[in-house]
Amino acid sequence: MAQSGPSHALKTSLPETYAAVNAQQPRPSYLYPTQEEQDKYLEGRPGATQQHLEVALEHAQQIQTQKDAEDIILNSILELLELPSSPTADPAAPSQEDTIKFKYALAPFRPSDYDNLILERNFEDSCGYTLCPRKYRKQNRGPGGGFQFKYGPKGSGPGGRGRSVDIVSEDRVEKWCSDACAERALWIRVQLSEKPVWERRAGDTRGTNILLLEEARAKRLKAPAATSSVSSVVDDLQSMGLGNRDRSRELALERGDTSTIRPDGRVNVNIRENQSGSQRVPGAPQMRPEDATGGSIEGYVPREHRNVDQDGDIDLLDQI
């Protein structure tokens, strides 16, 4: 096993955090122990082998990665509480700097972490959408409260008349400063990956390419013009280079589908067709001389009959 301790991406991705923590208190190092330390540990334990130790260390490393990831998420939540950087920022057109910071911090988040962020922002009296500087809507709850009517715009009711009415719980309304911010924040939420960050694989793009609602809308407006004609689709397909052998090998390499032993895939599959059957066409049964006497079933003569016939005795069945 490689000495993979210090090379963990998570551990090194926020060096200043770890430096700060380690400066305060000399904590036990969780880097991979040296061979000497391992040998020393094994000396006092006659039942344990090097393999046991490696398995234990491997699992310890995994748990440590999880803890590190959770620490990073917690730190990100604390950082995102401070956004937006200016109190007059417009949530519809956030500053470039804040947007980049926001998206970068969101990469390891799961939807539940994002919910925590919203909760924390509400505790600080700000709107649940990170790039919005306003306060969230606070309403006085009646004694039986908890729900309220919500009216849609004019003409949104059934049949295009009146207004649509929705009954929503107040917690859901109170998280945001306005419906627009609620939409923006929930749009971010659906893009996050459910998978915890330590289980994601290198090629997993979900959760990393996060678009703000405004960006996504701008993109969608542009998109239909590009894909309208058949020829452009064909061009796109060609530019993807699906038929290109080099490209497909690259792809296989990236996906881990390749191996030196089996170039076609993980398992060597040989298809062998059944040779018989296909050449002879079955025909209708034909009349044979022995069929005329009866006692045969579709040309098959039971053995006992056959014996009798060969002996020249009278077939009882034939006489009936």
Binding site: L74, I77, N116, E120, F123
Partner: protein
Amino acid sequence: MDGDSAHSMEAEREMTRLWRTFRTVYELLADRGYEVSDNELVLPLEDFRAKYADPLGYPDRTKMKIQARPTDTMKLKYTALPSKANPNPQPDCGTIYVDFCPDSSGVGTKQVRAFNHLVDENNFHTGIFITQTPISPSAVRLLSGVPGRICEHFQEQDLLVNITRHELVPKHVLLSPEEKAKLLERYRLKESQLPRIQISDPVARYLGLRRGQVVKIIRKSETAGRYASYRWVI
């Protein structure tokens, strides 16, 4: 006038509830082995009101800060057995600090950070943070993440009654490292062969147990009079 009396009724109610919580906190400290004087343990409601009420009659939580030092017996229980690497071990306990959070709702990372800072600055070994409402998940993580210090959280309503005084809750006694070693020797066990108790168990939380400790649970038994069992804290 009606509004006034309704106000004072509510203030009275809150005062009484908080007084009961306050008393449980002292009982908790005494049960854990901290130095607590007898008149603090049986503080009457009148004295509590005189000491901690604000002009409107509501309790003033900012005044209610408790500090306590461990007794010698507690220090003994928290001192590890001397080993080759550490021939002269120091007790792993120290001054405890209890803080009541004055915010009535929305306790999040902001308050917890302030509390952590306070505990760290005054070099308290353990801190107990008591709030009126549940705290957010990130605040819980933040509270448990102070390196080298132990920070615990309780809600006021968790401590309204002292659960260990209930007749169905058996007596839990923490074993010292020496007693633990003797127990394992007597029964020829490894500690992992003992039955377990979760660190989040209400009584374990009340006693502030830590991972790896062993508690002795003494139950009444119809046939044997008393029956002792042991639990390893995980």
